[in-house]
């Protein structure tokens, strides 16, 4: 990394693609382009020429201007001070950029991601002694990064050897030496509070483990019906207006992860501002601290340079892996992977590569798979178990799930939360469609639910899904011949399904109470509506008219339950269940009487 920089010149500018002449430059190397010093990355070589994709607009750049190779690939800085920040697609701190150059982003800025002036209180690892063998991921010590997150300072993955010295507890800035390590060749290396890592290279770990615990998001349709695991990979596809962003933001807000990394990739600027303005005010339901303390944003909004959009996903996932290596459960949300794929398409188009499907290059599927594969639960080198859960939004053109990005993504992921335009149009939110969505983790999640919440979880879930399937079938009949053709029992099934939809599946992100639903409350609600349906069905058999049940005030209360009682008031929901039992029992006795009378006589 200490090679002298080499300088060449620019030959051609075609939008973000610049051809330079720079002998000896490597594929993947970072370069600075032109008088402005725009950042770019070499993506292919041919003879003396190198093709560079630039992360910034090339307006005003001329052929003949200089191009300088920096000697290292696109890398990020990893150390304390990342959390709570907002970075652009190549990890430049946007808040600092705003202070330095105002409301718009200037070009050619060279601002380090991490604040060099900030002082951190370093606590060395008491188990370390000079002379000890240390290797990648060994915990050198800790820094309290935010109130909730203890930042473990790790030996960079490229170094191993003998610890020469470790600094005592005290205040250090990022450039200060906190230890020295002598490698097998006898070279001595300085260890600091941060290190750099190339973003396109997955960070190493000891071994991969299976996911065991569900990621609790506080969203009923996700946790109770299509669960995600910590360390899983999932996709949220949906046409515009179906609520992808709200689903992603809800997961960012309420999931029980330690760290949340939100990558706004080619999306709206105002959505990121929403997160920036609301998260510092919202409380984490698990730690009680402010949500922003565990959140990190990467922003490449749709009007920012397209090539940096391609980089932003790698920048995000590398930071996610870094916190995983400290033993944390990290959730990374990428909104939207379609924009990332479009950035690939744009670059490939400008290079004149042969397009395959809808203009996308042939390597789309393998690139997508490689990104998603960086998610997982692993045994880290020095900090126990950690995980990265990757949830990518997909924006299929025209809402068509057969398009290349959605279909390739579907092959790779394990959890698919398909958003439906029809549900969104009827303002059924979250508009996760129970027919096309799937989760490959139901059995693993069931073990957790059965142990922590109730033995009946999987049964209730299956009953609810069966009723919903029945509802779809009956609705088709109704649409052909009208509701009068249905028997009372069938009409009660429709009512039961409506109860599941309104009382359980629909959840308002805007309602203060309903926005987060604890697993206990989730189960209580599900149990309540299934109970109403099953008990009601026996009444219908006795001849109770459907209408009479529909008009019970209890039914409206069951539907409102979700926003009337918060996660701590599960007993109230259980009380309502008992009340339903009493009311129904009374009705049963009333309707059973004539029969009883008949048998008695």
């Amino acid at each position: 990394m200490s090679e002298p920089t080499r300088t060449g010149y620019i030959r051609e500018i075609n939008g973000p693609i610049v051809t330079i002449v720079l002998p000896g430059v490597r594929n993947g190397e970072q370069v600075r382009i032109g008088e402005l010093g725009l950042f770019g990355e070499v993506i292919s070589l041919r003879g003396q020429e190198a093709i560079v994709q630039t992360y910034e607009s090339t307006d005003g750049v001329r052929p003949g201007e200089p191009a300088t190779g920096l000697g290292w690939p696109l890398s990020v800085e990893l150390g304390p001070g990342l959390l709570g920040g907002i970075f652009d697609g190549v990890q430049r701190p946007l808040e600092k950029i705003a202070l330095q150059c105002g409301d718009y982003i200037n070009r050619g800025l060279n601002i380090a991601a991490l604040d060099r002036a900030r002082i951190w209180e370093f606590e060395p690892n008491p188990q370390l002694e000079p002379g000890q063998k240390i290797g990648p991921g060994t915990v050198l010590g800790t820094v309290q990064e935010t109130q909730t997150i203890l930042h473990r300072i790790l030996v960079p993955p490229t170094l191993s050897g003998e610890l020469e010295e470790i600094a005592p507890a005290g205040d250090y800035d990022l450039e200060k030496t906190i230890g020295r390590l002598r490698d097998a060749q006898g070279h001595s290396h300085r260890l600091k509070l941060f290190h750099r890592w190339p973003v396109r290279k997955p960070r190493p770990y000891l071994r991969r483990d299976d996911g065991i615990a569900p990621l609790i998001t506080g969203q009923r349709v996700i946790d109770s019906f299509f669960p995600q695991l910590k360390g899983g990979k999932g996709a949220v596809p949906g046409p515009f207006g179906a609520g992808k962003t709200v689903v992603q933001q809800q997961v960012a807000r309420w999931s029980n992860a330690d760290i949340v990394i939100y990558v706004g990739c080619g999306e709206r600027g105002n959505e990121l501002v929403d997160v920036l303005e609301t998260f510092p005010q919202l409380d984490d339901p698990y730690s009680g601290r402010k949500l922003m303390e565990r959140t990190l944003l990467v922003a490449n909004t749709s009007n920012m340079p397209v090539v940096a959009r391609e980089a932003s996903v790698y920048v995000g996932i590398t930071m996610a892996e870094y916190y995983r290596d400290m033993g944390y459960d990290v959730v990374m949300l990428a909104d939207s992977t379609s924009r990332w794929a479009e950035a690939l398409r744009e670059v490939s188009g400008r290079l004149g590569q042969m397009p395959v499907e809808e203009g996308y290059p042939a390597y789309l599927a393998s690139r997508l798979a490689a990104v998603y594969e960086r998610a997982g639960r692993v045994e880290t080198h020095g900090a126990g178990s950690g995980s990265v859960t990757l949830i990518g939004a997909v924006s299929p053109p025209g809402g068509d799930f057969s398009e290349p990005v959605t279909s390739h993504t579907k092959d790779i992921i394990e959890t698919f939360w398909a958003l439906s335009k029809e549900l969104a149009d009827a303002r059924h939110y979250p508009s996760i469609d129970w027919v096309t969505s799937f989760s490959g983790h139901v059995h693993t999640a069931a073990e957790w639910w059965h142990k922590e919440i109730s033995r009946d979880w999987e049964r209730r879930r299956t009953e609810a899904l069966a009723l919903l399937a029945r509802d779809a079938e009956l609705s088709r009949i109704v649409n052909l011949v009208g509701p009068e053709a249905l028997s009372s029992a069938q009409r009660w099934e429709l009512e039961g399904a409506a109860l599941i939809k309104e009382g359980v599946l629909q959840q308002s992100a805007l309602d203060e109470v309903d926005t987060f639903c604890s697993p206990r409350k989730q189960f209580a609600l599900l149990d309540l509506v299934i109970f109403i349906f099953k008990r009601g069905a026996t009444l219908i058999e006795l001849g109770v008219p459907v209408q009479e049940l529909q008009q019970l005030p209890l039914m409206a209360r069951a539907r409102r339950c979700k926003s009337m009682f918060n996660s701590e008031q599960v007993d109230q929901i259980e009380a309502l269940r008992e009340e339903v039992g009493r009311v129904f029992e009374k009705m049963r006795l009333e309707y059973a009487k004539p029969d009883e009378a008949a048998t008695n006589a």
């Binding site: 005003g60 001329r62 052929p63 706004g264 709206r268 303005e277 479009e342 303002r427």
Partner: protein, 459 residues
């Protein structure tokens, strides 16, 4: 660098001019072209290399020859002069006067491409704008700094709706009106005249800047027009502290011009022949709207997008919907029933509504009223479908109630006069009047407090 003139044209086709041996020309620079007749044309460098430079000619390449075409590279980006004098004027896509008045003289000149707003410098838009139109204010509220397009089709009254919004839009309890930037791309003379007359008759003309490229003007100029218009809007908003409403019509013609040039350049097509960068290109335009920290002014945007053959999945409305903060969708069915404005609420959406409405902004019941109306209307549309199959007489009493609600909703809530400016209270009261035809226990999206306070039914 000194200003050089070249006569090395090698190719001219489809709005593109290839120049040989023109070293040191900057990417994106402005170019002046003089053709054989001495007529001046404008251009921009869109690919720069030692051996060959590709130029986009805004006036098109018709009637150019290769031998007597002179090209001068101006060593400056495409810029527009800015001053308060802009207001009340009419320009073309390059910022040249189109109203027989002298050009704007000013030492403030800015490149029309603009830079990306730093997300960290943005402020979340949350000030409710009352447009006086129930379907927008009540169900898809617009806030200051939002980009909310109108998705329409040929023959639908999107222009009348846009004009009505321009006339009526104001903040609740505030009297400041908007300055308007009007950008017309590829519209007919009649449409352009309609807006001009509208602005004149409502007395806002002094507050309007128009950028106009008519259907018979060169299409390449449509590519800079929205950027020029937005540079003017940014100046009005952030230098002069005005609240600016940008009306752009019609984005579909803009995208078609982009496709025309992309095809001539040989770009790889993605969907329906549109280039793969259509999304990024549209985003560069739409994302210039918003609110910025510590700046008093704001830019609110209302682009008109006509959906080719009323297809909302067509790439232009589709990609627009992914960038903008919602959409107002017009329906041919409602229009044919004589309902104005024919806003189809089901596919319509405002993403920024949630923070601009409620207790402190409009009224405490507003969010739940909107949710309840949507739910009732969705159910009512299902019932209407059913009735069209099995006949309305076969419906249950409960279903008939929904049918009556659907009709009343279309006629009274959606439909309103072109001069009718409903306050948000009037809109919400009307909503309650319609909802009160249902018993309380069917209105589960409303809170019990709302029902007690506003429900007008007997039970």
């Amino acid at each position: 660098m000194s200003i050089k003139e070249y006569r090395t044209a090698a190719e001219a086709r489809g709005g593109l001019l290839v120049m040989k041996r023109t070293p040191g020309v900057a990417f994106g620079d402005r170019v002046l072209i003089r053709d054989h007749a001495g007529t001046r044309r404008n251009g921009q460098v869109i690919r720069a290399a030692d051996e060959e430079t590709l130029i986009l000619v805004f006036e098109g390449t018709d009637d150019l020859d290769l031998e007597s075409t002179w090209v001068r590279f101006l060593d400056e980006p495409v810029e527009i002069a800015l001053s308060p004098e802009l207001l009340g004027r009419v320009f073309n896509g390059l910022g040249e006067p189109k109203d027989d008045r002298p050009p704007i003289l000013s030492n403030i000149r800015r490149p029309v491409t603009g830079a990306a707003i730093n997300p960290a410098a943005r402020t979340y838009p949350r000030e409710f704008i009352q447009t006086g139109i129930s379907t927008i204010d009540g169900l898809n509220s617009l806030v200051r700094g939002q980009k909310l397009p109108i998705f329409s089709g040929s023959g639908l009254p999107h222009n009348r709706l846009a004009a009505q919004i321009v006339r009526q839009a104001r903040l609740k309890d505030e009297d400041t009106s908007f300055s308007v930037v009007f950008a017309a791309m590829g519209v007919s003379y009649a449409d352009a005249k309609f807006f001009r007359d509208e602005f004149a008759s409502s007395g806002v003309l002094r507050n309007v800047v128009m950028f106009i490229n008519l259907a018979d003007d060169p299409p390449v100029e449509r590519l800079t027009l929205p950027r020029t218009a937005l540079t003017a809007a940014e100046y009005l908003a952030y230098d002069l502290d005005r609240h600016v409403l940008v009306v752009m019509t019609d984005m579909t013609y803009y995208a078609e011009a982009l496709r025309e040039v992309a095809t001539a350049k040989g770009d790889v097509p993605a969907r329906k022949g549109y280039p793969g960068y259509l999304y990024s290109d549209l985003a560069e335009i739409y994302e210039r709207c918003g609110r910025i920290h510590q700046r008093h002014g704001s830019i609110t945007m209302m682009p008109v997008v006509s959906m080719p053959s009323d297809d909302i999945t067509h790439p232009i409305p589709d990609l627009t919907g992914y960038i903008t903060e919602g959409q107002i969708v017009l329906s041919r069915e409602l229009h044919n029933q004589g309902i104005y404005p024919p806003v189809h609420i089901s596919p319509s959406l405002s993403r920024l509504m949630k923070d601009g409405i409620g207790k402190d902004d409009t009224r405490e019941d507003h969010p739940r009223v909107a949710a309840q109306l949507y739910a009732l209307y969705a159910r009512a549309l299902e019932t209407r479908n059913l009735a069209s199959i099995i006949g309305a007489d076969e419906l249950s009493e409960r279903d008939k109630r929904f049918l009556r609600f659907a009709d009343a909703f279309d006629q009274r809530f959606v439909g309103q006069g072109e001069a009718e400016d409903r306050s948000i209270e009037a809109t919400l009261n009307l909503a309650w009047e319609l909802m009160s035809s249902f018993p309380r226990d069917m209105l589960t999206r409303l809170s019990e407090t709302d029902l007690a306070k506003y429900h007008q039914g007997s039970d």
